[in-house]
Amino acid sequence: MTAVDSIDNGVNVQALLEAREALKGAPEAAQFTWRSTTRWENGVHTTSTVKDYSGLGADHEHKAESTFVADHPEVFAATDNGITPIEYLLVGLGSCLTAGIASVAQNRGIQLRSVEATLEGAHDIRGILGADSDVRNGYNGIKVSFNIDADASKEDIEALVAQSQKRSAVFDALTNPTDVTVEVV
């Protein structure tokens, strides 16, 4: 375990492994609910906030409330006060996969020096415009390119990236259907 102990990617893998064991026998504590609220500003400009969530049988709050501004670009005839909602999906996927790489690397005793992900989502906007009913609204495909500098072989780095996808919440949410309920209260 010397190799594992002497490397530090800043991930507390021991705590995660302990949580995994503890939650095996307590599935109810593993149920988390994440929340956000979105307020309409004007036009297609919105402000979303994220502060509280629940899990491990209790309510929790982040250290600070986070605010996310979304809008649409000027080429969409909008005010461009912030990024497009669909770009937030890239943000979510990139940060989830990168966090996964750090965690898996820590667990496998691989010291990371730098990790950079570049994401591209291919989007045919005729879908959202209703210009062609055969075109879907969402991404046609997403490409993620990782540039990783680490004390490991190319094969080990590829295995890190593959394992990170296997355990990624956002990768799963994007690649598999999710039941979505929208209601007016």
Binding site: A162, Q163, F171
Partner: protein, 395 residues
């Protein structure tokens, strides 16, 4: 029957209960073309080896039945055929076993009913429209019995790839839905890949040395087929046959089956694992005496992934007439009235020693070693487990 062999050796009075005939599941619950994944020379039972002319071949099901029949005759196992166990209950001094032929009282019970009693079919199958015929490997015999037209095979284990190949060859276009899978070449450096698993010691790894035992015990069977040509049947071979690859089946919505967009990653995982396995083989060979007899190390072409995979399939349009659920099997312990089965239907045991006193198990994946999954794995397992049982009886 392997247990019986060692019980007899230790003069422990016992009976073997069999619901049908000897080798029942091999006679009735397998498709026509199936052959063992292990080469004949590897088919070993205690005191009984393959003695035929083709040690590198793979037994057909009638040959397996003959092999096990001969073993039964050789051991003189006290088998009561046509006896279905309906209940096993704990008593003060052992167990009461109820069968459709009457009751038995015994001090110990060895559960050897297997890991593949029922096909495991995902819940999403319930939402498949009625016009699509749904089969499991237990119902499937040969492609000729399927309706003409497209077939979706779900699952890319040995079962899934074998059925996908033979159905595609019958002229029915096959779509194969693949989740995590285990890629293997049939032959590596001139030797059967299962020779390597045996010789390099992978199969001798003990259950308490396997890093993630739960995962090892639920791993899909490798993408192998036993043929005269010793052909490899990986996803590239299926693509060459014209099979269309899609991701894991996720859900049925509005009559459409939706597939995961994660196919590329499960394929990458399998390719990386294969390379690690071959590297381990090569490293072992360098240290062994056989290195000089082996062909040069090689690496196989990465699995080709379609540029864009299909994410949805209309089940009502008539393009798919049949779905074959090659999604694995699970054991059936519905007759076991002892609280030793977990919420996922798995037997709670430590290397075949079940949590209930005097209760034992044999013939489950990675029971005591990685090779426990295969026929030849039973000898060492049965010897160990019966030794424990004998010790329990004497204590």
């Amino acid at each position: 029957m392997a247990a019986s062999h060692f019980l007899s050796e230790r003069s422990v009075d016992h009976v073997v209960l069999e619901r049908g005939e000897v080798a029942n599941s091999w006679r009735r619950e397998r498709w026509d073309s199936l052959r063992l994944l292990t080469p004949n020379w590897q088919s070993r039972l205690p005191g009984h080896h393959y003695g035929g002319p083709d040690p590198d071949g793979y037994m057909t099901m009638p040959e397996v039945v003959g092999f096990i029949d001969r073993f039964a005759a050789l051991t003189g196992a006290p088998v009561r055929t046509g006896t279905t166990v309906t209940s096993v209950r704990r008593t003060d001094d052992g167990y009461r076993v109820t069968t459709d032929q009457g009751e038995l009282a015994c001090r110990t019970v060895v559960i050897a009913s297997g890991a593949c009693n029922r096909p495991a079919v995902p819940a999403l199958s319930e939402a498949v429209p009625d016009e699509v015929v749904q089969l499991t490997p237990f119902d499937y015999r040969n492609p000729g019995r399927l309706p003409d037209g497209g077939v979706l095979v779900v699952g890319a284990s040995a079962t899934g790839v074998q059925l996908a190949a033979e159905i595609q060859r019958s002229g029915r276009p096959v779509t194969l839905s693949a989740g995590e899978h285990v890629r293997m070449p049939r032959v590596y450096r001139g030797r059967d890949v299962l020779w390597w698993m045996d010789a390099a010691g992978v199969w001798d790894q003990r259950y308490d040395e396997v890093p993630d035992l739960t995962r090892a015990r639920s791993l899909a069977s490798p993408q192998l087929v036993g043929t005269r040509e010793r052909a490899t049947l990986d996803l590239n071979a299926l693509t060459e046959l014209g099979v269309e690859l899609v991701g894991r089946a996720s859900m049925v919505r509005d009559g459409e089956l939706l597939f995961s967009g994660g196919l590329r990653n499960v394929i990458r995982l399998a390719d990386l694992k294969l390379d690690r396995l071959l590297t381990a083989f090569d490293e072992w060979a360098l240290e062994s005496e056989v290195e000089a007899d082996l062909k040069a190390p090689e690496r196989f072409e990465p699995t080709r992934v379609p540029a864009s995979t299909r994410l949805r399939l209309d089940l009502r349009g008539g393009a798919i007439r049949t779905i074959v659920w090659a999604t694995g099997f699970r054991p059936d312990y519905s007759w076991l009235d002892v609280p030793v089965v977990d919420t996922k239907g798995r037997l709670d045991h430590d290397g075949g020693v079940v949590a209930g006193p005097g209760l034992y198990a044999l013939g489950l994946p990675v029971l005591r070693r990685r090779k426990s999954t295969f026929i030849h794995g039973i000898e060492d397992d049965a010897r160990d487990v019966i030794a424990h049982l004998d010790g329990y009886l004497r204590s």
